[in-house]
Amino acid sequence: MYGKGILKGLSVTWKRFWDTYTEDISWMLSGKKRYYTEEGIKHRASKHTKGIFTVQYPEEQLIQPEEFRYVPFLVYDEGAEGKKEVRCTSCGICAKVCPPQCIWIVRSNDPNTGRPIPEPTEFYIDADVCMNCGFCAEYCPFDAIIMDHDFDIASYTRNVYGMDKLLKPASYYKNIRPENYERNDAERKAKEAARAAKAAAKPAAPAS
């Protein structure tokens, strides 16, 4: 019969249409909210989702997985009296590994001795050039540069970020990437403990 295939196809669209409403109604009847709740968004990104499962951006936003990466930021630890202890040592590895070469670092020198000190005076990332590849964060030996989650950065000007915009506290890092933070933290602590143990062993050596 001519038209059978069309009807078959229409049954699929019809089912889809129907599913959308039955989903909404069943969520409503069970007293849960399908929209504007984390549970609802999660369900709409799972294998069980049926009907239309659009997420109503910007009112709703998909839940970012931890590894989501956007233009990187620099981490500082909060020292005593709110002092910003920048983790970056201006080693320059990130600038070297960056494929589009969008990181500029100005190293600092001690004004008295003229010797380099391990902290950048200036640090720029051209966010318009950055391809969000994540290499800088991956290869930084000090976990000083981390990929951000903050992706909606519309602006009227070029986005060349300096230190003022790039520096974010370690607590922010912990907030957006808890698992990575824990892992890094454990590694750093282990390293520090090893260094302390070494330092403790050294002066003991001549005494023995």
């Binding site: 069309i6 078959k8 990104a45 799972s46 969000n132």
Partner: protein, 367 residues
Amino acid sequence: MNTDRIVVNMGPHHPSTHGVFRAALTLDGETIVGLKPVVGYLHRNHDKIGERNTFLQNMPYTDRLDYFNSMSNNLGYAITVEKLMNIPVAERAEYIRVIMAELSRVQNHLVFIGMLLNDLGAMYTPALYAFEERELILDIFEAVSGARMMCNYLRFGGVVRDIPPYVMQKIKDLVTDRLPAKTDEMERLLSENEVFVSRLKGVRVVDAETAIKYSVTGPVLRAAGVPYDLRRADPYSIYDRFDFDVAVRQNGDMMDNYLIRLDEIRQSLRILEQAVKQIPDGPINSQKPAYQVRVPAGEAYGRIESPKGELAFYVVSNGKPNPWRYHVRPASFVNITCLEQMCIGTKIADFVALLGMLDIVMGELDR
């Protein structure tokens, strides 16, 4: 009647030319008598940039070739450089690579079907159905690699990070429950639709002989009856361990080109099912993470069966941190050489669909 031929420029901003592609068509009435593909609007010097970059830095650039399938592009480049470096790949990473490459193929073919219908005039419904499933697959890519499309996930010797358990569960769910059902649903929606079938059936795309002559690869070649699939013809990675068939159709018409995509999705799901079952535990990279890889002098040619055809990389190293020569053999670019042969003698109304059949993507074609 005495008539003049006219030249019609389709593109570069034609909504159905899949990006900035222009075709200068010579028409006799409604029949195409000549065609000149004009490419290069999206040219961005990929090969030359690749020679400036270090070996590792090229990895994110390969994402931007065929931006639907960055995972397969990564795989092609990674196996080429690994050949050159002569290093093994961690066992678990091999499985992860196959899982990602096949998921990529599934979503590519789904989008192909959706966009084909878009080209044929069935605006949006099938395309959006396809995009819904793609969205779920991209969620997986995002969770493992950090980005939905520009994954940059593979490293020489393995992958950059492991698949978290909840993502593994999601892959299993999709592969065993959802995607097979959705593929069937796609089939129900379209395969018997009389309007669709009458539009596709019997419209020749390319015959086997011409396809081989023009080095056409991928689903277009297999739909013409040539069972040539690099996963079987020249097995790379660990494809020789899986049980699957090379999808092949005989007629080489538009209908077969459409159906073969569904077949390939099903075969990919078969591979995926085995891969998620067999995947072993263990390290995900055989090398230490290093931003400066040492690649000994020499040359290597690595090729994979990307969803669009044969994707190959040719890399020459002279021991320096960056390749001395880096060349990409993209499937789209080689396939499009056949476009004129495909179109001559057909009606202009079919042109957009024929172009859609080749499944070109300009990021890869123009590089």
